[in-house]
Symmetry: none
Subunit: 187 residues, 4 copies
DNA sequence: CATGAATGAGTTTTCATTCAT
DNA sequence: AATGAATGAAAACTCATTCAT
């Protein structure tokens, strides 16, 4: 089935994009890694940019599903926030390529076009939980969007922190500490 | 004087690197912007990478000085953290190119070599203030390095937030709110 | 029926060849326009060149038949020449794609192979009428072949002239003037 | 001097464009013929299209100068037309590449842009002479532009005729006959 | 008969870097 | 010190053609 090659291309591209950056990854390298001809990539994707965009949407969707699934079983804004932060960390480790790629692609306007921002994004899930907490007057936050920025920023940096082995703390401790810090920050 | 051209090259390169990305900026474009010949850039810098690295060091030093200068006049860890967060926001707006470039370059291992991490970096200034607060048992943080990660992550995301005009809040409000959130998080 | 697809391929190819040029038309574009698969084109034609050649022969034959039919009803060399010039103009407007394609293909040696020049061609019809006029000493021409060149050149340029809207004259006037000019030239 | 290479590129490109067509000529082939690197062609010309356009303008200018020079020494519209037709034939043989290229490029809208039609073109020289003859009521032509189309069409076809060795007539005879035919046509 | 994924050689173009002047 | 022509390797992308299904 032709779908096999398509998947191989997506997988190899994700791997190389994360490892060397999007610009530094040539279409030829992707083709070689996916064991196919360069030209074949252009059968499946209109351009390298299209490929990068498709991967971003895939990753963002996977991430969003993970978060939605995690939050579904919880009641109470605090519990939701805690589980979301933990889910984010878990995703960052179990799907570290997807997570890294989301962060990389986020900085590139040619990949994240304006119309994509209208679609459901991972951050929406956080926003809902925060909104709920604000309505119940549990959180000292004047706007949910900015609080999402804070939380995402904290978790993002913390994962880099763990990955680069900067701290002597165990990953689990970092996660626990971060969860506590996030809740202190909100309340 | 050759120094004038050197400065023009550094300035143009910084501008273009931030606007279009490092890879998407050609040496020719830098030469044109700095009103000099391509070959002349290689008289002042060994390579494009060397140029990118030099700019990073310049930016990081300027940023670090700004933070050091801000913190010098303050006594008390809380005051220091507050002033550092405010200084970081101020730098992000007054020297937006330098700030953006630091963030961009941070993701690129060819530019930020291992030996550069040994040099004094902006985050050191935060770390000192946090250490001081921990010793005085003012902050509920088990390690200063991770708290730096949290704070930097929060501020970084918040600036993107303001720059991209995502919120309806005024920049000043965002800053005030963020300062408060940081302090809640630490205490 | 397979014949339907064959016709669709020929028609689409003719259309695209004239609109964008033969080289700039991809087999894929033809397949899409004819609502078939790329591979299927190679069932009907040996190669893109073969397709281009087949179309040329079709067009040239249609053109020749048109001329032959027109001249059949006339007696007298002058009347024949007049009707031929008019028929050529009519063909250029009613079958503008076929006419354009003949002109385009004429410049390409890979399409018009030497052996095709031996076959009956449109210009033969002109040549016969001229020969007849020369024998009756009505025309001041030393050789019929060169006179065909003159006439064809005049009409060809005049049609381009009309198509590109260079003149303020009505198409009908251009045709009448050209007929008169041709006859003046011959006599 | 760098001008040498530029000229070599122009010359080789003209040669190959005429021999194999513009599309069928690769930039690599031009580079090889001009004994330079592919990349160097892009220092001198923005693109292959730019190169093709530059060559067209060069050829058209040379042709126009030739015609202007020829007509300058003549008085009387008939003499002017005669000398112009002869000059056109001479150009077609002495500068056969330039002449062929003008004809080839004329059919390509991407090369002959609209704004180029506003510039002085070879046909203008014919038009002036015809206008003069019309004012003196020597020529039976209702508009000079269409008569230019006729004359150019006749000469163009006649040169192909000679080049392809279709006739048994000597080139000089073809020219003499064509001159006479043109004058019969106009008067 | 028909499909369209796959191929691989080819295309135009870009660009960091060198070097003669 | 400065220039900018020249280089050559590599980039993204196209396309006629083949072939397994």
């Amino acid at each position: 089935m032709g779908d096999t090659k398509r998947k191989a291309i997506l997988e190899t591209a994700l791997q190389l994009f994360v490892k060397h950056g999007i610009d530094a990854t040539s279409v030829r390298a992707i083709a070689e890694g996916a064991d196919t001809a360069e030209g074949n990539i252009y059968r499946h994707f209109k351009s390298k940019g299209d490929l990068a965009r498709t991967i971003f949407l895939d990753c963002a969707n996977t991430f969003r599903s993970t978060l939605k699934k995690a939050v579904r079983e919880q009641s109470g804004p605090e519990q939701k926030i805690e589980i979301l932060v933990r889910a984010m960390f878990e995703f960052a480790f179990k799907h570290s390529r997807e997570f890294s790629y989301i962060l990389i692609a986020n900085h590139r306007e040619e990949i994240i076009t304006r119309d994509m921002l209208a679609k459901p994004l991972p951050k929406d899930v956080f926003e809902e939980a925060l909104q709920e907490g604000m309505e119940q007057q549990l959180f000292q936050v004047s706007e949910p969007t900015i609080a999402v920025a804070w939380i995402v920023g904290m978790v993002q940096r913390s994962t880099i922190f763990i990955q680069r082995n900067i701290t002597s703390l165990e990953p689990e401790n970092v996660i626990d500490e971060t969860v506590k810090a996030v809740l202190r920050m909100l309340k």
